[in-house]
């Protein structure tokens, strides 16, 4: 019986727009993954801690506030520092294409913008973790 994929959906920074994160969290749960949602106003430190505590495989960050170039790298840095560099960090929100490219260079997983069907996100995770449910 394959182990279920564990995903942490997180809202870093002060951004209070959580419609997308909640819809994605539900879609991932409906697709059979185990989903933990951090809620709002998480610092990268809190997210990295939660990722370890919850023993997740993936962290999905949702940022619509324009602060993504601070929050994504910082979260990835902290995970690495805590010995959890193998946790996939991906995400979505309002992120200009040039910034997406830069974040990919820094090792970030796929970034999904407005209009993305949740099925694309599910497919992406299934492709990344083919041996997991």
């Amino acid at each position: 019986m394959a182990k279920k994929l564990r995903v942490l959906v997180a809202k870093p920074g002060l951004d209070g727009h959580d419609r997308g994160a909640k819809v994605v969290a539900r879609a991932l749960r409906d697709a059979g993954f185990e989903v933990i949602y951090t809620g709002l106003h998480q610092t990268p430190e809190m997210i990295a801690e939660a990722a370890l505590q919850e023993d997740v495989d993936v962290v999905g960050l949702s940022v619509l506030s324009g602060a993504h170039m601070t929050l994504f790298p910082e979260t990835m840095r902290l995970l690495k520092e805590k010995g959890a560099a193998d946790i996939l960090v991906f995400g979505g929100g309002i992120i200009p294409r040039e910034d997406m490219e830069e974040l990919y260079k820094q090792g970030c997983g796929r970034l999904f913008g407005p209009g993305t069907p949740t099925t694309d996100i599910v497919a992406y995770l299934k492709e990344k973790f083919p041996d997991r449910v």
Partner: protein, 554 residues
């Protein structure tokens, strides 16, 4: 009359038989965005109980269904008011001057996230956020710079601020003071609608009870010193943006409003003194007729509740005045020029719905804050409606449409269904604590997303009429990365120059007022005048009132 209705029904039945063979077989009848089934045709039969004088009446008279003013746009056009803010106060001051020069009538301030959360630009949590989503305002000096060269006696200003509303309003009042404008002359609005923060926008500071106390303090202060100021903009916009249906937007917003009225009365205020200064803020979404019906239903419900339930005596207490913003959540990142058209439809629905004030979104808002070009098109959209379409020549032109009246009635009915549910939970504050409106909204948001992914709902450019390998061809606004550093420097200089002993005393006085029963606006203003910062004042208030965080749910 009854005979005529019978004849119409009979003729309709015959007509319908002919139609049924011709329309493509559909699984279900089409629905509005809120799930209200839409019939193929509306006749007098669908509004059989219609009573013109009782249900509609006349503009400017109870129940105000047709409009809050007796002359509506013939007497005074809606205020063109574009929500704006980015970077530093100086940057935004430039944008305001641009918009005013191009015909904008009222100002509307968009603050950055640190400001929205009552934090200074140099707060650790502000890192990366300063000036990105709105303008950074941390002090009276920032507020003065924001309105430099803009006489506050001559404009009305709306400020989208909630948790820290009392403090940011104090910055504005003190800035006006320095311009030599008496507070009695000031016109504007603070959003200050904490209930919808818990439900949807999430920019709260304190828990519900102290938040309501601060709101009633604001209302009391305004009625004495700033009588032309709208103390709350009871908002449905954010509830809708979070994914609610039109019916939920209508119901939850009005229920929030009625809850504020209860709170004001409980605090010992005279309803006829504070109610005329309550205003509303609605979304204008894509389902054209549903939106217009929603605005009309809102006016009628509010009028009835204020008159019959709260027994307010002044007609000014019964009328629902509102600002509208076109629906940001309906815009697409794909083929963004289409957003100009969406916004135009939505703006038209708001005008036909009788809005007092209107913000039209820019086409690039799914990507960034608006460029000058994009916001100019948005402003022109309003001017085109006002000057070229002729729709403002008569009041409530859709009034009497069988469809629109039927929809108005249906939305009103659904709102009352929700009122009953919320009352059964013990009122809106209790309902929020139970997570009821939040869950309804999350469910509606998910349902909508599934409809889009199934193809049951078309989003042009996203799931239909897409462009392969689309490249973004519009310029985007980029926030100068030096903004954050600049703000840090400004705050450092401020803290050096001011009388820090005075600031300390003012904050101590504020703390005492928070712990007691005195109106907090007075000590907040003193602290503001002494150059205490936003973060320092809010931090002091948090020491007494506590902070709030919601239990995560999806």
């Amino acid at each position: 009359m009854a005979d005529e209705l019978k004849r119409i029904a009979e003729e309709r039945r015959k007509w319908q038989e002919g139609v049924l063979g011709t329309v493509p077989k559909q699984g279900q009848s089409p629905e509005t965005l809120s799930g209200v089934p839409v019939d193929i045709l509306y006749t007098p039969g669908e509004v059989a109980e219609f009573d013109y004088l009782k249900d509609l009446g006349f503009p400017g008279q109870y129940p105000f269904t047709r409009g809050v003013r007796n002359n509506m746009y013939r007497g005074r056009q809606w205020t063109m008011r574009e929500f704006s803010g980015f970077g530093t106060a100086k940057d935004t001051n430039g944008r305001y001057k641009f918009l005013l020069a191009h015909g904008e009538v009222g100002l509307s301030v968009a603050f950055d996230f640190p400001t929205l959360y009552g934090r200074d630009s140099d707060d650790t949590l502000a890192q990366g956020e300063v000036g990105k989503c709105g303008v950074a305002i941390a002090s009276l000096a920032d507020m003065e710079t924001l309105f430099d060269g803009i006489p506050l006696a001559d404009v009305s200003t709306s400020m989208t601020i909630n948790g820290p509303a009392a403090v940011v309003w104090a910055f504005y009042l003190a800035a006006a003071e320095k311009q030599g404008v008496p507070s009695e002359k000031l016109r504007g609005t603070i959003q200050n609608d904490i209930l919808k923060e818990y439900i949807a926008q999430k920019s709260w500071l304190f828990p519900p009870e102290p938040s309501m106390r601060v709101i009633t303090d604001i209302m009391a202060y305004a009625s004495k010193h700033v009588p032309k100021w709208n103390t709350i903009s009871i908002s449905g916009y954010h509830i809708r943006e979070a994914g609610s249906t039109a019916a939920q937007e209508l119901a939850f917003t009005l229920k929030d409003g009625l809850t504020y009225v209860e709170a004001g009365i409980k605090a010992g205020l005279d309803v006829d003194v504070f109610a005329p200064r309550l205003s509303y803020f609605f979304n204008s979404h894509l389902d054209f007729f549903e939106e217009t019906a929603k605005f009309r239903a809102a006016r009628r419900i509010w009028a009835r509740e204020m008159k019959e339930t709260f027994k307010a005596k002044k007609p000014e207490s019964w009328l629902l005045r509102f600002h509208t913003q076109t629906a940001g959540c309906s815009l697409t990142a794909q083929q963004p020029e289409n957003n100009i058209v969406r916004t135009a439809f939505q703006a038209l629905a708001a005008v036909l719905g009788g809005t007092q004030s209107l913000h039209t979104n820019s086409m690039d808002e799914t990507w960034a804050l608006p460029t000058e070009k994009a916001v100019l098109i948005a402003l022109r959209t309003q001017q085109l409606i006002a000057e070229e379409t002729g729709v403002t020549n008569t009041i409530d032109p859709l009034g009497g449409s069988y469809f629109v009246e039927a929809l108005t009635n249906e939305l009103e009915k659904q709102a009352y269904d929700y009122f009953r549910k919320i009352d059964a939970l013990g009122g809106m504050v209790r309902a929020i604590e139970h997570g009821f409106p939040q869950r309804e909204i999350a469910d509606a948001a998910y349902r909508y997303q599934k409809q889009v992914e199934d193809g049951r709902r078309t989003v042009v450019g996203v799931n239909k009429y897409t462009l392969e390998g689309e490249k973004l061809e519009i310029p985007l606004l980029r926030i100068d990365p030096t903004v954050e550093q600049e703000q840090h420097q400004r705050l450092e200089d401020l803290r050096k120059k001011r009388d820090n002993a005075k600031v300390k005393k003012c904050l101590a006085d504020l703390k005492a007022a928070c712990a007691g029963k005195d109106n907090v606006m007075y000590p907040i203003l003193e602290a503001v005048r002494a150059c205490a910062t936003l973060g320092e004042i809010c931090g002091t208030m948090k020491e007494v009132f506590g902070s709030y965080e919601e239990p995560p749910m999806f």
